[in-house]
């Protein structure tokens, strides 16, 4: 295989920052330094060269809802967003509670332009009652177990899942923390806007009672609990306190929860409908503070494609979820890095290497150094572009940022040494 040299960029990884060229050969980084030469040159002038991003929370919709997304198209959207690995969520049809279904997703991922890891359901059919074959799924490489889309609402089942995970190295129980008894029937954050709009609410308390309960269970069992898409100030505070006590807890936040508020729902456009819902300015500030002090470990997108016709319904009747992969890093720069909430290194830690560690992805998020697998993101923080929903690589169009001008765009993405995105264009 020919040499590839990435020139003129600023390398930023867990080990620090330096201006350097990167030489890639045979799928690996072979040299990092000044004035390197190779058969093929990839221009990174003005760009940050960083380990490929890792998203621990995406919905690829395969199998069962291929009209919204497939492993192939979701992976392409991911690669364009700078991701070299994503973890697929289990709420497919059939769900990822079965080794054969997980194996099929992983096989499709082998052909994709982004590494696709699979989560596994915690319970059979994501019904919240009996444990899924977690051990068999673990044998296939599953590390994150979740019933995402639904909360494991039964405290007894959650306790057993946490306990059982202790026997599975690197396993993490990942919770969609929303108590259905409190959130059920709601379509947006319960507060001033839901009160005025007459849209049934999903209260912050629905998230917080589950976080409180599961932190107690994590303490009792000693297992690793991960909270998906943390969205309330109260949840951030509880996770912060639990970390201070030394519990094995991690948490993620989504770009929409630090960029958009429940006021968006006044348009009645269900492109703004998501679970957990868009919250208030105070929650948004708490999410940012949680990212800044490390209470929230990772930024995940909860990329949730839906067919256009499914969102062309009244707010209460439309499905929840929004696209995220192709806009995430630009939003991180706009809302977190440029305003000084996070340093570049903190932002990339949350978007790449900490996620790789939580998801147990050995070849992701590694420092850009000789012998590392060449999974790289080359990001131009000054590139201005307008989000055009019709030009996204995702099959779906449900981005809440359509029409917005963002500054910061992924220029190239390299997966196992292959240039899968070049100058902002997917190569296959």
């Amino acid at each position: 295989m020919a040499d590839l040299v990435i020139t003129g960029g600023r390398v930023l990884d867990a080990s620090g920052e330096r201006a350097a060229d990167v030489l890639v050969r045979g799928g690996h980084v072979v040299e990092v330094g000044e004035g390197l030469r190779g058969d093929e040159r990839l221009d990174a002038a003005g760009c940050i060269v960083t380990p490929g991003l890792v998203d621990v929370h995406v919905h690829l919709r395969e199998p069962g809802m291929e009209e919204a997304e497939t492993v192939e198209t979701g992976a392409r959207a991911a690669a364009l967003g700078g991701y070299t690995a994503v973890v697929a969520m289990p709420n497919t049809t059939p769900p990822l509670d079965d080794p054969a279904v997980v194996a099929a997703v992983l096989a499709a991922g082998e052909r994709a332009i982004c590494e696709v890891a699979s989560s596994g359901a915690i319970t059979k059919g994501r019904q919240g009652r009996e444990l899924a074959p977690m051990g068999e799924l673990h044998k296939l490489g599953v590390r994150m177990f979740t019933d995402d889309g639904d909360c494991v609402a039964d405290a007894g089942v959650m306790r057993r899942a946490l306990e059982y995970s202790l026997a599975l190295p690197m396993a993490v129980i990942s919770q969609h923390a929303e108590d259905p008894a409190l959130a059920g029937g709601g379509a947006m954050h319960e507060g001033e806007w839901s009160s005025r709009l007459g849209i049934p609410g999903r209260p912050a308390a629905a998230e917080e009672v589950i976080v409180a309960r599961d932190l107690i269970l994590a303490g009792v069992t000693g297992a690793h609990v991960h909270f998906q898409h943390v969205s309330t100030a109260g949840a951030v505070e509880m996770v912060r306190a639990a970390k201070a006590r030394g519990l094995r807890v991690s948490a993620e936040a989504c770009p929409h929860h630090f960029t958009l508020t429940d006021a968006c729902c006044a348009s009645f456009d269900p492109v703004f409908k998501v679970n957990p819902p868009l919250r208030t300015e105070a929650d948004l500030a708490a999410i940012k503070a949680g990212l800044a002090d490390g209470t929230i470990d990772v930024i995940a997108t909860d990329h949730a494609p839906h067919p256009t016709e499914a969102k062309e319904r009244p707010f209460e009747e439309a499905p929840s979820g929004m696209l995220g992969l192709e806009t995430a890093l630009a939003l991180v720069w706009e809302e977190l890095v440029r305003p000084g909430v996070l340093t570049e290194a903190q932002a990339l830690a949350a978007a790449s290497w900490r996620g790789a560690a939580i998801a147990g992805l050995a070849h992701q998020g590694q420092p850009v150094a000789p012998d590392a697998v060449a999974n790289l993101c080359i990001f131009d923080p000054e590139h201005r572009w307008e989000v055009d929903a019709d030009r996204l690589a995702s099959k779906a169009r449900n981005t809440p940022y359509a029409g917005r001008t963002l500054t910061g765009k992924v220029r190239h993405t390299i997966l196992r040494g292959e240039v899968v995105v070049r100058d902002g264009e997917a190569q296959r």
Binding site: E190, G191, E192, S194, S195, R196, L197, G198, I199, P200, G201, P203, S267, F268, D269, E309, E312, R313, P314, F315, E316, E317
Partner: protein, 327 residues
């Protein structure tokens, strides 16, 4: 004005202008032949995704009295039952050549969505728990006839299931916009978790506010609320919040009793009170037609011609109306 989607979109001037227009049409509705050619040739579709007797008939009557062609769209017999999306349904209807859609839907904001998709004028005839703007306008028309043009300082209590009530949302905004002092009265379980942004005060105790009221407005209480743990029982609700004969006796002599219908007699209101001298409930229904004529005329009439005001429509003497100029 292109659409009537919510009272929240209207200024005090907008509301007052609509009420003046409605007064004119009220006069029309009292004629021997209560029909004017003001909107001849205009096509109004009534698109009701939720059962309604009075609102639908009221709108259709209003449209017919303005000489509109009215097309009824019945969800139970339509392709909606076959899974057609809301957008496809309204675009199909629009393609038939229509001017306005009067729409009721069980989901908040459904008319707002439709307004984004098609060019016709949209009139919200009730959307989920959001708003019911023509109900608020007819309630205002009724109040004006008893209390005078302004409602400044009038003490109005809206009693009942505020949380699930589109009437409460529209009425609270409309009454307050005209200067009334609005109090919501309900058990905490039937109020939104916050009332920030609502121009109202709140009480959980009907007996404490009863004696001071100029108007008591009762909302229908749904039987299902018992099953959702929002109420122990309808009996307890009546005991604490029902306008019983005994409570009605403690109202001021000139206080008005209102209800948007349909009533649960014996639950939120005693039958004797609903029929009693303080009740203006049937007037509300009658005023509904005049208000809906005003709304349809405002959206379809003056906007279309740009020259003809309400005076020309109704005519100075009320004897005859020149509708031909409206095209």
């Amino acid at each position: 004005m292109k659409h009537l989607l919510s009272i929240a979109d209207l200024t005090r001037d907008d509301i007052e202008e609509m009420l003046v227009l409605a007064e004119s049409f009220r006069e029309v509705t009292q004629r021997d032949i209560p029909k004017v050619p003001a909107l001849r040739g205009k096509v109004v579709v009534s698109l009701f995704y939720e059962d309604s007797t009075r609102t639908r008939i009221s709108f259709e009557t209003a449209a017919k009295r303005l000489s509109c062609d009215v097309m009824g769209f019945s969800v139970s017999s339509s392709s909606v039952k076959k899974g057609e999306s809301l957008r496809d349904t309204v675009q199909t209807i629009e393609a038939m050549g229509i001017d306005a859609v009067v729409m009721r839907h069980s989901a908040a904001g459904a008319p707002n969505r439709v307004a984004d998709w098609i060019d016709a004028h949209i009139v919200n005839a009730g959307d989920g728990c959001h708003e019911h703007p023509t109900q608020a306008l007819l309630d205002l028309l009724t109040l004006r006839r008893h209390l005078g043009a302004g409602l400044d300082g009038a003490r109005i209590a809206i009693v009942g299931d505020i949380l699930h009530s589109r009437v409460a949302r529209s009425d609270a905004l409309a009454f307050a916009a005209l200067g009334a002092d609005v109090t919501l009265v309900a058990p905490p379980t039937l109020l939104p978790s916050t009332l920030a942004g609502w121009p109202v005060s709140v009480s959980h105790d009907l007996d404490a506010v009863l004696a001071d009221l100029d108007v008591i407005y009762l909302l229908r209480i749904q039987r299902e609320r018992q099953n959702e743990a929002l109420l122990p029982s309808l009996r307890e609700y009546t005991a604490r919040y029902g306008l019983t004969v005994e409570r009605a006796g403690r109202l001021r002599k000139d206080a008005l009793v209102m209800h948007p219908g349909p009533m649960n007699r014996g639950v939120e209101i005693a039958a004797e009170v609903a029929e009693g001298p303080a009740s203006v409930i049937t007037e509300q229904v009658a005023n509904g037609v005049a208000v809906r004529m005003a709304v349809l005329y405002k959206l379809l009439g003056s906007g279309a011609s740009g020259v003809v005001g309400p005076g020309a429509v109704v005519g100075a003497s009320g004897a005859h109306v020149e509708g031909a100029t409206l095209g």
